[in-house]
């Protein structure tokens, strides 16, 4: 029976060969940290200052801290697949979305669950509009995605400032705290639950509709897609609007974490990490086939790397350099050249083993 098992496992990675890179990256980080500090992944339950039991530990920090990035990586995967380019305005758009939410929350005297729901709906609507704007530039006017989204990247944080007109407006409400850290009584940080929710929503969307297939088709060959009755403009627009929703959720989490919005620093440079997550996830940045799970794993790998560097107390001036080294390794391992070489090696070994088997 062991032979059967081996077949099964190899077929899983053959089907999802993309997932190999983020998987390996996470495994390496896990092993490295366990050697460095065996207690690195220990999880404890402590009482927070509100008196509720909550989970605590590096593992929780990694999953919690990567929430915004994971959500943005989901949306970025779709945009990458459909348009063959990346949206570099996600951080700015998240700042706009967060500011919108703050604006709605501050417009009422007391913050009730209804205002929060209205606020989140408003920030989703605004982010979807901006997403549609980006999408229109890309699909209708056929501007390269990076150039099209450069516009919002440049002006987005100014727009976020205009919405509230103050540098760091704060809100104080137990509901917002619950979204950003813990729901009283629930030991799991809420952002992790929101990521889970978004993941389930996308899963249902892919299962019940042909959207995933259509987006892939448009990304692989726009002309062929058109001939087969798929509207490339619509699909690209849809991908950007969905990314807008992701930005809205990321902005909501980012703003709720500390109940304030700093339009200049909220999710600063997150667009680069989101693109990186998509790349580490083994997705082709030129569009076409995609694997959202890979991107999310990529996001967690990036956060794990950051937390590892913090735990190692790497001096602040050196962090980016260390990060770059690891990223170079990951990207090179994931490059087609290295992949082909591995494949050839595997084939050769396989043939040799086959030959040996035949000889015996």
């Amino acid at each position: 029976m062991p032979a059967d098992n081996r077949n099964k496992s190899s077929s899983f990675f053959q089907k999802n060969s993309q997932l190999l890179i983020p998987f390996v990256a996470i495994i390496i980080l896990v092993i490295f940290n366990l050697i460095r500090d065996p207690g690195f992944f220990s999880i404890a339950i402590v009482n927070n200052n509100d008196g509720y039991p909550v989970l605590q530990g590096n593992l929780v920090s990694i999953f919690n801290g990567a929430s915004e990035l994971a959500i943005l990586a989901m949306g970025m995967t779709l945009v990458t697949a459909a348009s063959g380019g990346q949206d570099i305005s996600v951080g700015a758009l998240a700042a706009i979305a967060g500011s919108t939410l703050v604006k709605v929350l501050k417009s009422t005297e007391t913050i009730t669950p209804l205002t929060v729901i209205l606020g989140i709906l408003a920030c989703c609507a605004v982010a979807m509009l901006f997403g549609a704007f980006n999408g229109m530039l890309v699909s209708v006017f056929r501007i390269q995605p990076m150039i099209a989204t450069l516009i919002l990247f440049t002006c987005g944080r100014s727009i976020a400032y205009w919405i509230n007109g103050g540098a760091t407006p704060t809100v104080s409400s137990p509901i917002i705290t619950a979204i950003g850290s813990f729901i009283p009584g629930c030991p799991v940080p809420t952002p992790i639950l929101i990521v889970l929710l978004m993941g389930i929503l996308f899963f249902i969307l892919f299962r019940t509709t042909t959207m995933g297939l259509y987006i892939q088709t448009v990304g692989i060959n726009q002309g062929a897609a058109k001939l087969n009755g798929i509207n490339p403009v619509g699909m690209k627009l849809l991908a950007f609007v969905l990314l807008g929703v992701c930005c809205a959720m990321a902005g909501t989490i980012g703003m709720s974490r500390l109940s304030l919005i700093n339009h200049e620093t909220l999710l600063l440079n997150v667009e680069m990490d989101a693109i990186l997550a998509v790349a580490i996830g083994g997705n082709n940045l030129g569009g076409g086939k995609f694997n959202m799970i890979g991107s999310v794993m990529g996001a967690y790998a990036i956060q794990a790397l950051t937390i590892t560097l913090y735990a190692m107390k790497v001096p602040s001036t050196d962090v980016k350099a260390y990060k770059a080294i690891v990223i170079i390794l990951l990207v090179v391992i994931g490059s087609p050249v290295v992949k082909d070489a591995f494949q050839k090696m595997k084939n050769r070994n396989g043939r040799r083993m086959l030959a040996r088997k035949e000889a015996t």
């Binding site: 605590q56 530990g57 801290g65 103050g166 540098a167 813990f182 620093t265 600063l268």
Partner: protein, 323 residues
């Protein structure tokens, strides 16, 4: 014919000069070149302060230009000189490239005041510079910390964007303590002014179970992030807590945290330079000399630092930034 034209032009010029002089007796024209209020809470308070002091009620005719870009600021300054302002007030985006403009201003008899930021040039090119001494601000905070007489100082140090003036000044004083061995560096990490990143840094220390009793965050937002991590971990902080929390900037919301006893100290780099400049302009207008300048023609703003145990509501209203 030519003579007549020349005469007419000369007369016209005289007239305009007279009208200008007649105006001048009533209002003082100032041109303010500053960074835009959206830059930070500091700048917002700074801009508001100048708007309040250099108002029409106070006898000023004020023109303002806001930009983060040096070349745009330079253009604005040149425009103000052409417009014939009496005084030019500058908070430069960059320290270089201003010499020619300042010389122009001097030739036209325009008095130049620098505020908040210095310019690399000969001190004779400006009447005075009202600036903050960032290093002194850091020292004020560290001296306060030393005065707390803790048994041990295990400090989590969260830095701002590396290389910025505020970061260098606020880091310098603490680094000296780390080097002398008086304080122990638990972690020194930059969160680039990002609140959420500060929280992650403190989380990593808590997860590693390294003991600490001081959080020194180089602005209010990052202090807030650090405190959120403490709250999640059930660690007490503030006046009666286990961990001392220190922030900078004195935003109103941060000072309220101090008042509630959740933080211990907030330092401020004063954005209120307008009143000082106003007084100096009045002196110049009266023909008096400006006093209290150092060899670089600077006046160093007095920096505030607030202890949670001594803070009052009035302080928040007077010195707090933002809403």
């Amino acid at each position: 014919m030519k003579k007549i034209i020349a005469l007419v032009i000369a007369l016209a010029l005289c007239l305009t000069v007279f009208t200008v002089f007649a105006d001048e007796a009533k209002v003082i024209k100032v041109g303010i070149v500053n960074n835009p209020p959206s830059e930070s809470g500091y700048r917002e308070a700074n801009v508001k302060n100048f708007e309040e002091v250099f108002s029409a009620e106070n006898g000023y005719e004020t023109k303002t230009a806001y930009s983060l870009k040096n070349d745009e600021q330079l253009n604005a300054a040149r425009q103000f000189i052409t417009d014939g302002v009496d005084y030019l007030l500058i908070s430069a985006a960059e320290t270089t490239g201003w010499e020619a403009v300042l010389k122009d201003a001097q030739e036209q008899g325009i008095g130049v005041f620098l505020f908040d930021r210095m310019i690399d040039c000969d001190p004779s090119l400006y009447l005075a510079a009202v600036v903050s001494d960032m290093a002194q601000e850091g020292e004020t905070a560290v001296n306060w910390l030393l005065a707390q007489n803790l048994e041990k100082y295990e400090v989590i140090h969260i830095q701002g964007a590396m290389g910025s003036d505020a970061q260098l000044g606020r880091t310098g004083a603490l680094d000296a303590q780390f080097e002398s061995g008086k304080m122990t560096k638990v972690i020194q990490q930059t969160a680039t002014w990002d609140e959420a990143e500060a929280k992650k840094i403190v989380e990593s220390v808590i997860n590693a179970k390294t003991p600490f009793n001081v959080i020194y965050a180089e602005n209010d937002g990052m202090a807030k992030g650090a405190v959120a991590a403490l709250d999640d971990a059930g660690i007490t902080h503030g006046v009666d807590g286990d961990v001392i929390v220190m922030g900078f900037d004195c935003n109103k919301w941060a000072l309220r945290e101090l008042l509630a006893g959740k933080w211990n100290y907030d330092g401020q780099c004063s954005p209120f330079q307008a009143a000082v400049i106003d007084q100096m302009i009045k002196k110049v207008e009266a023909g008096e000399a400006i006093e209290g300048l150092n060899e670089k023609n600077q006046i160093i703003s007095v920096e505030k630092g607030f202890d949670a145990r001594e803070l009052t509501e009035d302080d928040i209203a007077t010195y707090g930034l933002g809403e």
